[in-house]
Amino acid sequence: MRLPTGQISRFGTLKSLLQRFAYLSLIGLTGALMLIGKADTVLVERASDAVTDAVTPVLRVMSEPAAVVADFVNNLRELAAIREENAELRESNSRLLQWQSLAQKLESENKSLRGLSALVPEPNATFVTARVVADTGGAFAQSILITAGEQSGVHKGQVVLTGEGLVGRVMQAGLYSARVLLITDINSRIPVLVGEAGNRAILAGDNSLRPRLLFLSNKSAAAPGDKIVTSGDAEAFPPGIPIGQVSRVEEGGVEVEPFVVRDKIQHVRVADYGLSGILAQSPPALKAEAPKTEKVEK
């Protein structure tokens, strides 16, 4: 059956009107979602958890080839440098043996002093190891997705580490996956100690590779090479986790080079130190916190 020309053009107009209406509705919906996301973060988090749980298996499969290639390239690189590395390792081994004897001496001394002062021991941490399946690093957010969630004992606020040091903390935990907020994310604020003097500061990410130190109590004391460790303030992180070292000190601030090389993270450890710090509730809560909330019993 053929429609008369007038009817066709009327259908066309109706169709384009409907399309325009659908388009404007979708644009309106994005605006509404942005407002909802701002007002009800819990709802958005739940939706995000559900989606992340569902998509993680797909991302896991997709990340496999890149991981295999990266492993292969690493193996080649390691083979090429095996001689030099061997010599280096021998040297560092002999140095470490000296440190080991010193550590043993200190440990026994520590034990006897603890006995004298009746110090309450820190609770032991439990660890969960997970694979990194997505690096959602863009200009706007710096987080990774890992293959462990509530089912494996991963909860919001827990500390995420690699052998080198601190990676970040669990921001959202679904059943089978979790999102880790990296220390370089613009929302990340970590109470730290700088250098041997232990000056207090807040390490703040800005979505670049190198986070900066805020509220540094003695700015002139920071020098390139100074080690940065967590201070344990605010009970968000246990004290003494290595983070990085000062890479640049300038007028605008102090830049920190993290020990964890972002591009090489394939597996992470999620540590449960049994801390119930303020970060467990909401990431931006620490935003304006100066490092003066020092705990006396430390």
């Binding site: 942005m34 989606v51 706007f140």
Partner: protein, 173 residues
């Protein structure tokens, strides 16, 4: 009879190719590449795909599909919900409107136009996220690097998209 059914199923599957390819590219942007220095400036792959299909097959990637990809991206990446979808939808609309301009243009012009569209998209997203996110505006330098990466990557991604287009859609014509 069976042949017709298979044929019809094949046709339906082909119609989902633009959506599927865009979805895969969006997920690809999130898979770790382990390439030093690249992990914090991911190119806007989903935008490239939306731009490409809006030019060559506007009939096969509708607003609804683009919206859902944008929302999924926001939920996975942890960016303010709706911001990614808004940018993709606006980009798609701009290209739809300029359909005549894009008709039979050489690749150089398409690439240049992508650079313009992507610049607008990146800037708008930066403003959008800055206004909505609790953390405020991110340093614009990061976004600029991601933009440059996107423009640089477009010929490669565009080539793959063109391959997919020719292989899977030309037969369904």
């Amino acid at each position: 009879m069976q042949g017709t059914l298979l044929h019809r199923m094949d046709g339906t599957a082909r119609r989902f190719v633009p959506f599927g390819v865009t979805l895969i590219l969006m997920l690809f942007a999130m898979t770790p590449t382990y390439i030093p220095g690249l992990s914090h400036v991911t190119p806007m792959y989903a935008l490239m795909a939306v731009y490409f299909w809006a030019i060559y097959r506007p009939d096969l990637l509708g607003y609804g599909a683009t919206f859902s990809i944008g929302i999924l991206e926001d939920l996975l990446a942890g960016t303010p919900l709706g911001s990614g979808a808004l940018i993709l939808l606006l980009c798609q609309r701009v290209v739809f409107h300029q359909q005549k301009f894009f008709n039979n243009k050489p690749f150089g012009i398409i690439w240049l136009a992508f650079a313009l569209v992507a610049a607008g998209a990146a800037l708008l997203r930066w403003i959008c996220v800055g206004l909505v996110a609790t953390s405020g505006f991110t340093p614009i330098g990061q976004m600029f690097t991601a933009y440059l990466m996107s423009v640089a990557m477009y010929p490669i991604i565009g080539w793959f998209l063109a391959k997919a287009h020719m292989k899977l859609l030309a037969q369904s014509e």
